[in-house]
């Protein structure tokens, strides 16, 4: 039994410190944005969020996030597979590369795209227009959300014993069949969790898409850029409403995340017979 029921003073003090810190840090801002947005009731919020340009920006955000998630799910799975199962020189380097999008400033990411594909960029004659356009925004969104699927799938894949696959081979299953029936069910959970994280990250991206997209109203304006512009234009209710909308979606994603995270760990945390 790891958790001990708390009896003495000190543990309660530690718990109180943590709860107060987490509450002030995480929940107070949440309460503030809700009370701020609904100051004049629900009507203005509904109006703001159903404004044509608001809806347009939301649609763009969803398009980018979902497309990026699909791309990163497929290619992320391949990268994870190669990094876990293959041995080749320089593997550690590629493994280290995967973490970079976690730490590289999104502004720099957007800026690199401008350097490459901008009007005076290195590749200004590139056949597809990437700067200040949707494809460019998609590329940066894919970049910033790249590590999640890989990092969620890798440990699960690494922990799989080869015996199961070998058992399937000895039973005559083809490679594809083995992957589909044996490997995939084992890593499915990791993939889904990774996709959810990818989605969350992609939905909220601002810096990179703002730089590369230029934030052209109704064309390259995502939900986050919409919030930014609304604040500038003193359209506070518009900004708060959109912030709340994204916040609610995020909390929804968080709920899904927790539900996913809890599912397998539930078995582990069950009351174990402590006698032996």
């Amino acid at each position: 039994m790891r958790e001990k029921p708390v009896r003495t003073f000190w543990p309660w003090l530690l718990i109180a410190v943590v709860v107060v810190y987490a509450g002030l840090l995480l929940l107070a801002p949440l309460v503030a944005v809700i009370s701020g947005a609904f100051e004049d009731g629900i009507q203005p919020v509904l109006e703001a969020i159903t404004a044509a340009e608001a809806l347009l920006s939301l649609r763009l955000t969803f398009f980018l996030a979902i497309t990026a998630s699909v791309i990163n799910a497929i290619l992320g799975l391949i990268v994870a597979w190669v990094l876990v199962r293959h041995r080749f020189p320089g593997k550690w380097f590629f493994n280290a590369l995967v973490d970079l999008p976690f730490v590289v400033s999104p502004v720099i990411v957007g800026y690199v795209m401008i350097v490459l594909f901008g009007r005076t960029g290195w590749l200004q004659n590139f056949p597809i227009q990437l700067a200040f356009s949707l494809p460019g925004m998609l590329v940066v969104t894919v970049f910033v959300s790249l590590p999640f699927v890989i990092r969620e799938v890798m440990p699960v894949l690494a922990s799989l014993t080869r015996e199961q696959e070998e058992a399937a081979f000895t039973l005559g299953a083809s490679s594809w069949m083995t992957f589909y029936r044996i490997v995939f069910p084992a890593i499915r959970h990791g993939i889904i969790y990774g996709i959810v994280l990818t989605l969350a990250r992609a939905l909220g991206e601002f810096g990179a898409v703002a730089v590369i997209g230029g934030g052209v109203q109704g064309v390259t304006e995502t939900a986050t850029i919409y919030i930014y512009r609304s604040l500038h234009d003193r359209n506070d209710i518009g900004a708060y409403s959109m912030a709340i909308t994204l916040g609610v979606i995020s909390v929804g994603i968080l709920v899904v995340m927790n539900w996913l995270r809890r599912d397998p760990s539930e078995k582990g945390s069950q009351h174990v017979d402590p006698t032996e």
């Binding site: 293959h86 400033s105 969350a200």
Partner: protein, 280 residues
Amino acid sequence: MQLAFPAKAAARPHLPFGEWGLRAAAITYLIVLIAIPVIVINIEGLRGGLDLFWTDITRPAALSALWLSIWTAGVMAVVNTIMGTLTAYVLVFYKFPGKRLLDSVIDLPFAIPTLVTGVMLVLLYGPQTLIGGFLDQQLGIRVLFAPPGIILALLFLGYPFVIRAVQPVLAGLDANQQEAAFTLGASSWVTFRRVVLPAIFPAMITGGLLGFARALGEFGSIVIVSGNIPMRSQTAAVYIFGQVEGGNMAAASSVSVILLLVSLVVTLGVDFIYRRKSYA
């Protein structure tokens, strides 16, 4: 007795895709998407020669932006390493009402767009709000458009890093090691310091460094709370944004190179700690 096994049984298990095709796809993806951009920014930053790079980087606004990014991220990393470790400890070892909720809420910063975080903080600490007004008028502390606001935003988004790094290590810690220390007469505090802390230290540093690196490049929340005042509340990422918008590519490049360099060093440091740990 003879069992007829399919011919495949003897063969080395195959990959479901062509081995080389798969590897090529993975490597190309990583190189095109990650390696090339990193190389590009370095070439671009140093294209005008080291002198120009030096001139750009030593502008007071650039220097102060870089320094502001580093010290605010540093303060955040220290605070959250301590608070995150404490949180992880409480979550792993104690049972209390609301524990599950707390455990869930910790991921909030991973889910909420940082720009939204910025908006939330403006609504919480802005000069016309209850808390912000009180802090400003009674205590003379400006939160928004000043370093405290930046640190608050970073504290918010950096909170989960150390917790999520330390929590599994604590949970996987052999409880008997602590009990062994107890039977040898060690108090709870001595046990924590001598037995638990050394075991979780690499995870703490890893989480702290990752949080630091992440905070260094943070843009979305800071652009809202900092007010973008050069020399006072303009961080490196915001500075780069401003230079790009203004068409001043050289200035943007040089600060990008420095920022990227710090991130790279930190990431490699984390990699090193991880590896050293797994070799030990």
